[in-house]
């Protein structure tokens, strides 16, 4: 599970995150919504210990990420907007390398099994990644998470730019991971997918978590209405300040 306790991040005078409290439990798909610059990516980078918090704590499965970064990274998998892999290696080679980096090793058939499970065409498995489409690379990203047996997934706009079919396939994979008991935190702009795949939705605005929703309590239309309300409120607030 994931936990943020009064988590803050400032760049000089600019506060990117103003005290975030957030919990994502095992079996949860928590979708972070918000405009660009709302603090979604900052939150994910803080959980990855890619940046240092200026206050508060981020915990993965109860372990503080700044105190034991390598321990927490054994437990989590990261799928960025663009899963970037080694273009001159095949999907198999990339998967094996990243699995081994995560401390796991499998027989070749098992690696093939992971890649089959995420729906990669069998004939693509031994091709170099540089020939891959974005959708295919995102699938390899999920395969890496599977091979790593990740208990926590951090996803940063993983479906942006995917065609609806690829996006749908990706969401199906997330649902499988959720069923396996993973805690998933996903930053996204896709309100439809958030409602479809997510169990909970958090709306962020200017470094604050302004509202949390349970997806089974609201409709698609509600999600969009509430989201836009917050965005407009934010705009008015900004104008007032200006």
């Amino acid at each position: 599970m994931l936990e943020a306790i009064n988590l803050k991040k400032a760049y000089g005078n600019m506060e990117a995150l103003k005290g975030l409290d957030l919990t994502v439990n095992s079996g949860d798909v928590y979708c972070l919504l918000g405009a660009n610059g709302a603090g979604k990516t900052t939150t994910i980078n803080l959980f990855l210990n890619f940046i240092e918090p200026t206050g508060g704590t981020a915990k993965v499965c109860g372990i503080d990420v700044t105190e034991q970064p390598l321990e927490t990274k054994k437990l989590l998998a990261y799928i960025p907007e663009q899963v970037m892999l080694y273009g001159n290696l095949t999907a198999m080679e990339n998967l094996r390398y990243f699995a081994q980096l995560g401390g796991h090793d499998y027989a070749p058939d098992e690696y093939r099994g992971f890649l089959n499970r995420v729906g990669l065409q069998p004939d693509a498995i031994d091709q170099r990644i540089k020939t891959y489409s974005k959708g295919m690379r995102q699938k390899v990203g999920v395969a890496i998470a599977l091979a790593k047996r990740a208990k926590v997934l951090l996803l940063d706009e993983p479906t942006s730019g995917l065609d609806p079919k690829a996006s749908n396939e990706f969401s199906q994979l997330l649902l499988q991971l959720k069923a396996d008991g993973a805690a998933i935190l996903m930053a996204t702009h896709d309100l439809f997918r958030a409602k479809e795949t997510g169990t909970r939705i958090g709306i962020m605005n200017e470094g604050r978590l302004v509202q949390e929703l349970s997806t089974d309590e609201v409709s698609h239309a509600d999600v969009e209405r509430i989201y836009l309300e917050h965005m407009h409120a934010g705009d008015q607030y900004s104008q007032k300040v200006a």
Partner: protein, 492 residues
Amino acid sequence: MIKLMISHETRQLFRSGALWSILGLVVLAIVFAAWSGGRSVTRQLAGAGAAAKFEDGLRNHMRRDAEKYEAKVIAEGGEYQFASVRHAPGMGPPQGTNAGAVGAETAMYVSLPPTGLAALSIGQSDIQLNYLPVSMATTLDVTKYLELENPVSLMTGSLDIAFVVIFLLPIFILAMSYDLLSSEKERGTLAMILAHPISLRELLASKIIARAGMLLTVVLALGLIALFSVGTDLGSADTWARFGLWVIATLLYALFWFSLAVLVNVYGNNSATNGTVLAGIWLVVVVVVPTLVSLVATAVYPAPSRMELTVAARAAQTVAEKNYMSKLDEYYYDHLEYVPEGDQKAMDFLTLAQANNNSIEKAVRPLYDEFQVQLNRQEALVQRFQFLSPAIMMQLALNEISGTSADRYEHFLEQVYDFHDQWKEFFSVKFLERYPLKPADYEAFPEFDYDEEGFALVLARLLPSLLGMFVLLLGVVLVPTLALRRYQVAAR
């Protein structure tokens, strides 16, 4: 884990075309430099051999004349006499019986033997002749062959393995590692890797180990091959001790450049900026600073050129001659065979010539000592300023290791001057006694046997350069290690 990352890096490098072109260039440069260095050493050895052979031939000719004369004296009876002046062939005792003539008209070539590693760093050895003719003549004549080399090679130095290591190796190293982290960051793979239980330090270490392992294996292997193909004296422990030092110096220098690439990468700019910054550092460290140091050294302690030294020595010679000679004496001094009043008068002129020679030597020698002192001051200044640039430290270290340093040459020259005195002493005493030189005496001529410096002395002179590089390396390793914590994996 780090083994896995090193093998991954190695595989990545093997699949990139850049690695093969870099290794190809390294091989090409070292093979050519080894050939060039080997040729230079062979040429020096051949030159020394040919010169010694020529002079030995002259002396043997005089000795054969003396043998014939001795046989004639034994057959016909009579006294074995001293030849005061050059006679027509067949008449009277030959020149070979005159110690003054033998000592003055033939020279003993003394040579500085190359160390086993001489071909790896030519140093100054292309302008400092490794063989000099020692005769009864003055120091002026002994050293007049110095700096008669091709002026182009005086200007540019020569291409040897030391040049490849000092100038080119850093370029190859930087070409392999200028984008060590920045390329992963730009490709987006850095975030993917660091989402795994890998520290940035381990990642950097694995990248450096993979690159340094590959490049330095090739460089050291080629150095060894070069030693086998152009090195001399492979059987001696000295050669291998020196090769060991060569390996240590090369590793220190190469690791400095690898660490520098890490340092620049840790400050997290893009690949293009990193490349430009590193190229600038290369230019300053390898070209600008050494040039400035050399400029300062020659400005602070301007050594008179050898040309000026020669002119001054000639002037001193002229003054000395004037003091001792009348015009007629001067003429007869140059043309002993025309002295009209018989052998006794001619012998006086020979004595006069000896005395004259000594006084010239006395006038000239201080100029040489002064010249050497000034050179030593310059040298000492460069030694002090070497810490400004690892390239200077490396050049001094490699010259020291290969036995082509200024200090070893000075050690050789001192012995040459001593031998020169010994040679003059041997022949002038016999001459002044009018001792008729017998063929058997030829066996007792002084021999030059170069007395090599102790290895401890070489080490002691080498130590500051190696230590300086080591301290610099530590500094360059330490700074990025401290800065690593602030490295931004993700852009804000």
